[in-house]
Amino acid sequence: MMSRRITNLLAGGALGVGLALGVAGAALAKTQLTMYYPVAVGGPLTQIVDGMVADFESAHPDIDVNAIYAGNYDDARIKALAALKSGEPAELSVMFSIDIYELIEQDAIVAFDDIVETAEEKAWLESFYPALMENGRTQGKTWGIPFQRSTIVMYYNKDAFRDAGLDPESPPATWDELVSMSKQLTKKNDAGQVERWGAMIPSTGYAYWMFGALAIQNGQVLMNNDGNETYFDDPAVVEALQYWLDLSREHGVMPQNTIEWGTLRQNFLDGRTAIMWHSTGNLTAVKDGASFDFGVAMLPASERRGSPTGGGNFYIFKDSTPEERKAALTFIKWMTEPERTAHWSIETGYLGTSPAAYQTDALEAYVQEFPPAAVARDQLEFATAELSTYETGRVRKLLDDAIQAALTGAETPEEALSSAQSQAERLLRRYQ
């Protein structure tokens, strides 16, 4: 009886395999694409992407796109690389723009220059904002196409500005103004405790990102374009960290020690701080949650204005046939068309990635109706790459630790940054 059951099982299995083969045979005519996509929880973003994928499939019946949603950026990268390793299909993915060196090191991705053929496709590669391409280009090639990208902007409470006797239409444009205005904005109660802080710059989670803004404003980038050199101990960088520290210890306009990324928005919405630096990704949430009149402005300048970009790029995996690469390129081109980018930007709050997207009627109308959406675009002119090197996780952590050590008073900015620099140099030596 046992053996009969096994025979049945075997027969069932054979039937299953046969069916699977049959299905695969029928689908051969179509090009199948598997795309890994980072979404932390199913929700609006998943629906928007699903909708775009469905539209694409009806426009291109010969291509099937199977989107696999995979947690945050780290999860998406881990799952996509694991899938490739185990022979599962994966042709393209949206992953963190700063993962580029890791993906090249793993020999996982292919450069877009090796796929584009026609003049039109080559022109498409040049159609994006240059600042958004910085994290996707190295070794003279383009490896990542900007898709869900953001940047840092300054949110400020106009009511607080009025309350402090400041002009709500002229937010601080320089570092000195940020200090002087924040001093006016800082409000203490009778017991001498601060009720409203002048400004908050978050220093947990993405401290290196915020710091990239301060460094570039002071005229210095944090790393080279080959991803094998960092400039953490450059005097301008040290000065930038000193300025950040002084906001709390010297001028008393920002709370001491580290400021939590996750609760900062609530602090701003509750009026605990008059100014915050935060991702453009927060724009919609602030718009929906603010009970006061708020404004969005470019980050202030020391030597110049500036902010790093952030977010995810499209990559095409190397382990794919020429047909699949072509199909993936078709898909990515379709997803980044100006009209679609405009729709995507309005729906999600991410940046429009090309100037042409901002010239579409839809986005033009939206910007007119909601001017803060234009601030991030205007700031792109001054934007730079997000910190990204070989061994990027470790190097980023070195800088994060150095920033937090300085802000908590454990080390001086100079000590912390030169120690981070020498450790980073040791890590990057093998990539010179």
Partner: protein, 291 residues
């Protein structure tokens, strides 16, 4: 032939458990050990055998030592207090009191909440200024504090949260043990004129020792195993002031992409836990009264 067949029968019965144990416990342990002797490679740079180099690097790694120190403080902070509290709560809800079921449930609630959800709630408790704790302090005119942003207080904050989360869980074990104690003992104690304090230390507590051992081991394992809250609350910061060993292992493996060094750290953690477990069983077991 029957004995031969019986042997096969026995092995077959053992097989499912053995396969699972080997596939998911023993093999990974050995594989981890082997991997810790190699330098992580990538596709373009294959992994190379380096012997104990990873271990040497570990001994020089400041963050590793900081994580070890933090973990020891974390264990010392959470274990005794959560156990004492659990025992206290169990004694309390074991008595006849009004709405006993409700009180028991209230004590047990933190345990059934997922740690990530709990961390999200406590994140707002600890938020400077607008958080629950600072608002409460404000009622008495006390100044607020940047609880999670200050390296001097961040670990204590994690300890408090963990105690709150765990004490109710341990209480259940004590409660079960208390209810299995024969009531005659208490009656005899009363007849002999033993005070409540004396009775607790001389009768109840020794009889609860097997439970205490079980709870201590669990608490210890948890103090090395529970890191979910770090992802939400601190990400190990500021400047590694709240990094725990397992969180550091995660970071090395999945953020730094260095599986070999993560394997090295894992071996260190395993060795340490094995040592503690052996020590506990050898030393404590002799002194515990089993009925």
């Amino acid at each position: 032939m029957p004995s031969y067949r019986m042997q096969i029968y026995g092995w077959l019965l053992l097989l499912p458990a053995a396969v699972l144990l080997i596939a998911f416990t023993h093999y990974p342990t050995v594989a981890t050990l082997v991997q810790s002797l190699f330098l992580s490679g990538s596709v373009t740079r294959p992994a190379v055998f380096v012997g104990v180099e990873n271990y040497q690097f570990m001994l020089e790694d400041d963050v590793f030592w900081q994580a070890v120190r933090n973990n020891i403080w974390f264990a010392l902070g959470t274990i005794p207090i959560s156990i004492a509290l659990a025992l206290q709560m169990a004694l309390w809800v074991n008595r006849r009191l009004p709405a006993r079921g409700l009180v028991r449930m209230a004590y047990f609630t933190p345990t059934i909440l997922p740690m990530i959800a709990v961390a999200n709630i406590w994140l707002f408790f600890y938020t400077p200024g607008i958080g629950l704790i600072d608002q409460f302090l404000g009622l008495f005119g006390l100044p607020g504090h940047n609880w999670l942003g200050d390296p001097d207080t961040v670990l204590a904050c994690l300890i408090v949260l963990t105690i709150w989360k765990e004490a109710g869980f341990f209480m259940i074990f004590y409660l079960a043990a208390l209810q299995s104690l024969p009531p005659e003992l208490e009656e005899a104690g009363k007849l002999e004129g033993a005070g409540r304090w004396y009775f607790f230390w001389r009768i109840t507590f020794p009889l609860l020792m097997p439970t205490t051992l079980f709870v201590v081991i669990n608490a210890l394992i948890n103090s090395f195993k529970l890191v979910d809250h770090l992802f939400i609350l601190t990400k190990g910061g500021p400047n590694n002031a709240s990094t725990l060993l397992l969180y550091y292992i995660y970071e090395v493996a999945f953020s730094f992409f260095d599986p070999s060094y993560a394997a090295t750290l894992t071996v260190a953690l395993l060795a340490f836990l094995a040592l503690v477990a052996i020590g506990q069983f050898v030393l404590l077991d002799k002194r515990i009264h089993y009925r």
